[in-house]
Symmetry: C2
Subunit: 500 residues, 2 copies
Amino acid sequence: MEDKKQAYKDLLDETREIHALEMAKEVLEWDQETCMPPKGVELRSRELSALSGLIHEKTSSDHMGELLLQAQKQIDNEEEGANLRELKRAFNRVKRVPKKLVQDISRLGALSQDAWIKARNASDFSLFSPRLKEMISLKREIAKHLKEPGQTLYDALIEDFEEGAREATLVPMFSSLREKLSNLLSRIMEKGDQADETPFNGSFPRPMQEKMCKHVAKTMGFDFEGGRLDTSAHPFTSGGKNDVRMTTRYDESDFRPALYALIHETGHALYEQGTQAEHQGTPLGETSSMGVHESQSRLWENQVGRSRAFSAYLLDTAGQYFGRDIVGRNLDTFYKGVNIVRPSLIRVEADEVTYNLHIIIRFELERALINGTMEVHDIPAAWNKKYQELLGISPSSDAEGCLQDVHWSWGLFGYFPTYSLGNVYAAQLYGKILKDIPGLDSKLQKGDTAELLQWLRENIHSKGRRYLPAQLIEKACGESPAESSLISYMENKFGELYGL
Amino acid sequence: MEDKKQAYKDLLDETREIHALEMAKEVLEWDQETCMPPKGVELRSRELSALSGLIHEKTSSDHMGELLLQAQKQIDNEEEGANLRELKRAFNRVKRVPKKLVQDISRLGALSQDAWIKARNASDFSLFSPRLKEMISLKREIAKHLKEPGQTLYDALIEDFEEGAREATLVPMFSSLREKLSNLLSRIMEKGDQADETPFNGSFPRPMQEKMCKHVAKTMGFDFEGGRLDTSAHPFTSGGKNDVRMTTRYDESDFRPALYALIHETGHALYEQGTQAEHQGTPLGETSSMGVHESQSRLWENQVGRSRAFSAYLLDTAGQYFGRDIVGRNLDTFYKGVNIVRPSLIRVEADEVTYNLHIIIRFELERALINGTMEVHDIPAAWNKKYQELLGISPSSDAEGCLQDVHWSWGLFGYFPTYSLGNVYAAQLYGKILKDIPGLDSKLQKGDTAELLQWLRENIHSKGRRYLPAQLIEKACGESPAESSLISYMENKFGELYGL
């Protein structure tokens, strides 16, 4: 007799096989950034494209469609329902886009990436704009196929990164952040006194920084039996659960860049390591959205890593590797030195306050591009105008302006807002954590992060994709996603730091 | 209008995609031995099995069958003919084995591997023998499906590793080697004077050994822009052409193990790097058989690496890393110390003379097992008897006896003889090389390997799978595969070394 849940089981088997291929792809991508010899690039791109093709085929196969249909009748509980919901959604999104469009955009991706690199090297947006125009036109077409009733074109694209997020809620949220944070920035700039950074200048040999970074990652709870730390040009985290790989980068004249990139990536990595073993390879064992992922990295990097309490632990730890007198052995100097607010042109180097302003600029521009209210050739001027308006500075070239990010050349429209959503979620989660764990700061001072990690494991990591991102945040914090926690966190912290 | 060679082109495209998946698999396997965190093993095995399944499907798909049929009519020259011959052969071999048998053996492989590990740890062959019995029975069944007219069952299995090799030629070749080498060994043992190894004992820090190994690999012609050197428990080489990865292992009390493993692996790696760029991903751009591959590693390791001439270069190079007085600065001590002949129980640690005796024992046993003239439970006694007979020593346990090699647990019957074939080919090739490159020794003394590498590039590396292995050797040396060169090489070298 056939098992009553055979179709559901077969569906999960097929899903786990697709997941294994995706994880194989991540190892190859990690290898490309960390190990691969330079001449290997052409073969590697053929390997990745062969795998992508197979994953795409399997995800949208008739066999998969049949399994989804049959399994639907066999769902017994909420967890199985969540798995089915996510798998159906993925299947439908792939099915709705005509194959020709998928091929066109995959071909254009490589060309567009190439044009972007050339344009950035020449600092000339016009070398990139023809490809970007094509890219936007294809993404609009795709959005038309994906768009559900009540969604805007941009909404349909955000769904790739943040299920359930909508312009209608993001626009007021980001307007509020725009107003409050640019106001906070002005007040900080008016005060004019900046922290002294000279104590951070020195000679910090890379092998010692590596040891310190591994020490801090272990303190935070990272399991090196199920993960690694390596070096790459741009820090990132890849893999999942039992094989999570993070990277950082080292500046031998200042240990802060490596340390804070490490803390950020460890936040991502702990999320992966905290997913549920028994659900590996299915949505219940995956991480939620890009925004939720970013909330984990930012919470550790900022709310924890740049707090006065954890600064004490970090100063002490750095002292173990670079001598007790590091940073004048002064906690206040350290704390101020890792919280300097200073408008800059480059997003990835931005501080906590200005970071979201960088994101808001990109969000406003890409919405207009996708919704058809702005033309590609207007980007450089609009970009520079917004930087002047929000950050009080203007790029002197396209390279340090509208050509700095890789996202648009890959067609990743709708990705940027998840960075700020991550910050919004992080502030909400941390507010609740401070209520739930009395005396957390005195624990963090000693590097004791066990209860904090336990809270995140229970409320976020173990949930997988059981809930949509907004529901997950609401269940964890008791309130739906909203910017007010982030704003008051910023005003309190930087108000005190800068004596506003 | 359809291109007249469309099917042939499509066939190569499909072949290149399969090749990309195979190369992806090799990177994952390399990663498992060098980088993967311990807990990653379960996911990795699912990744590898998903990839193997897809490769198998694509290799034997109806689409592939159709392309082969169509392409057949479009072949214009010998090179295209070779590609088609090899692709058809691979397709037919896969097609001939019933799917059920493939699944059975793949399941058994994991169980058998597990049983072998347990048996080896307990040094108890009886824990492994039931699985080995099943394995042999399945391999015999597979051989029946693969066997072509005139082939023995064992022939059908050798074909997986050495196309065209036959018991009928291997048996007399190996009998002759058996007789001559065991005679040579007896004479060496009678002399009884062994080299002094104390000058090789010392402290050789791993980082310095690594630098020395990279130096030697570069000297030999290895291109680090298209490859890497790492560390693993058992040295190996993987990948191809523009991304070739070798490993070695380090003993900090003696630099010889790392150095000679490195030279051996560089021999394999140079073969991969020397394949033709324009044929990558097709048989013409691949390496030939296991035996030819081994001939490249052994030629560099033994004919070159353990020659008096190259010893001078190696002693000088080691001196740059470990001080000029290393090995008493004595070439004779060095040369003797890397050519010590001493019967041992473990194949992978054997010297040039005894190595082939280890292989012959395995060859004789596995032929009997596959052809049905010996029972599994007779292995331990037969093994020990042969060791006594050929090497004059007997294992005190199954672990250092018949359980030492992993091959049979994976069902790799027919693999062992390719090791000795590699030695046979290497001696033949080197004989021709010495004729073709006058004064080679004086070049090797200075570490000048350029002409030697050029000869190998032209005569072996660039040929891909254009010819069957035996033809390739014949075209390169002017004579078909034969053991006499190896025997006279051994008798000359060790006769002189041991004053016989």
